[in-house]
Amino acid sequence: MLALLGGVAVGSAVAVVEVRHETRSLFVTLETLRDDRDRLDTAWRQLQLEQGALAMQSRVERIARESIGLEPIAPENTTLIRLEPRRERQ
């Protein structure tokens, strides 16, 4: 009986150590993953900022006007197409 209880106690002690170790290593993994997430989030924010800077309306407008020679749509070069609602559905 005593031997049995002793065995159980030793077994539980070993289990505690095992679980502790596993907690530690899982925590380390978790922290690494969190760091990864934070790094990716940081990179994403930086990219968003970069995109924001590149897509600045004033910059896009300048490039459109100067490099590509685009201009705002004027009424003279607009053609209005009126669709009959019924015909549209068919």
Partner: protein, 574 residues
Amino acid sequence: MTRRAARSVTPPAWRRWMLLAVLLALPVVLLGRAVSLQLVDGPFLQGQGEQRHLRVESLPAHRGTIHDRRGRPLAISAPVDSVWANPRVIVQEASEPDITALARVLERDPAPLRAALAERRERAFFYLERHVSPELAERVAALDVPGVALQREYRRFYPTGEVSGHVLGFTNIDDHGQEGIERAYDDWLAGAPGAKRVLRDRHDRTIEDVERLREPDPGRDLTLTLDKRLQYVAYRELKAAVERHQAASGSIVLMDPDSGDVLAMANQPSFNPNRRSEMTGERYRNRAVTDRYEPGSVMKPFTVLAALRSGRYTPETVVETAPGVLQVGGHSVRDIRNFGELSVAGVLRKSSNVGAARMALSLDSGAVWQTLNALGIGEPTGLGLPGEAAGRLSPMPSQRPIERATLAFGYGLSVSTLQLARAYSAIAADGQLPTPTLIADGRRPEPRQVMEAQRAGQLRDMLTAVTRPGGTATQAAVPGYRVAGKTGTSRKAVAGGYAEDRYVSTFAGMAPASDPQFVAVVTIHEPQGDDYYAGPVAGPVFRALMGSALRLDNVMPDAPIERPALNIAGGESP
């Protein structure tokens, strides 16, 4: 068995002595070890222990992103590093060259830096430089000066810069909202920092993460009703107009009259929220919301509304405005010239003060006042931005004829640009007065019916004459569309009366007039030169913004087909 027991009765004496000696030696060893730990190596071990200590470290949480109505970012928090020092450690352990090198990297003079550190030698935390660039942070880390470390913080970036600065506002260096949306929705946007327990070495570098005490709780995102493209057009056109006329300031608001969504809101002078040094109250005030002024003729449609409601007037009723001057209680009301007989619609088209005053004086004494009061003049609009002006309308309708007359053409009351936009939205939305909002998915109070739908339609029809040839604001016409609107050129009130040469030019309007999708109000303060009338000053700004809004939203032109402005094709594409 018995023989063996008999033999071991007397053990040798040395065994007893040896046992005793061993037992005595044990406490001596323990004592010696204690002495060595406590007395001999004590200070060393204590120092080592302090150096590898558990600390609670805070985990910064980023602020929520602000988007425009199509999800394009307007304000983003990006991580940056701040350089801090532990003066106690640095003073003791850092060498002279270390500090000199640090000062060089931070672009500071070594001597004051050293003095500053020495002064704080009892403290454990001191910011050397906040929000440094990633390159600088790397160089500081590479120096590896004892007691100097980096701290992760978040900095707010505004990709649109000046364009939407007034609406968004800005945050201070500690990431708290100071103005605009950033301030009004600070609680929503701000995150709660988390905490973790870490093991640190003597340079305050984290060696090991021990446990998470609290997860950082990032702020929530916010979607605004602004449209980034229209906001840019509003900003660009307003800025150009203010420069062209060397005006003191200007504001513009573009609204969806049905929902009350503010699609664009810009002011001049403006500021760049990314650069804190530029900020002065003069620049960062959101004038469209915080500044009120006497609007002048732009209020006449509401006088006409009161007149139509009385049942005594129709749009065709003739009003005598000759000789262009009207004496009211010792004051004279003047038109710019003698218009003679005008219809009610003509009073609006020509913007006759005499006509408006005559109509108002013929009505019940509170009729115009009640109309204005119902439109929310004199009360905040409920937009929710800090510092909103309520405007001013006398608390009771005045009985004095001169006050009733001046109210009819927009003096003796004051409004903000936003309030004007809201009041005109009621005309645009068949009499429903919306509550302006900047938050896309916010709850909207039910609009209030402030005029009959039929009267709103009549007003719109009359107001389209203003932008047609013969009206006061042909410059505001958008080709292809019927534009309803009204100009206002008012004198600024100064001490002792009205200034002779300081004007406010306003244009408020909507398009397409048959079913308005947009309402815009342009206000320009103190345009210089001879062209101070609202038509040429504010009209072109309105035209550019409204034209862009209608085009980007693919609104069907509603102007009569015979206007040669557009090519019209039949059911098939050309």
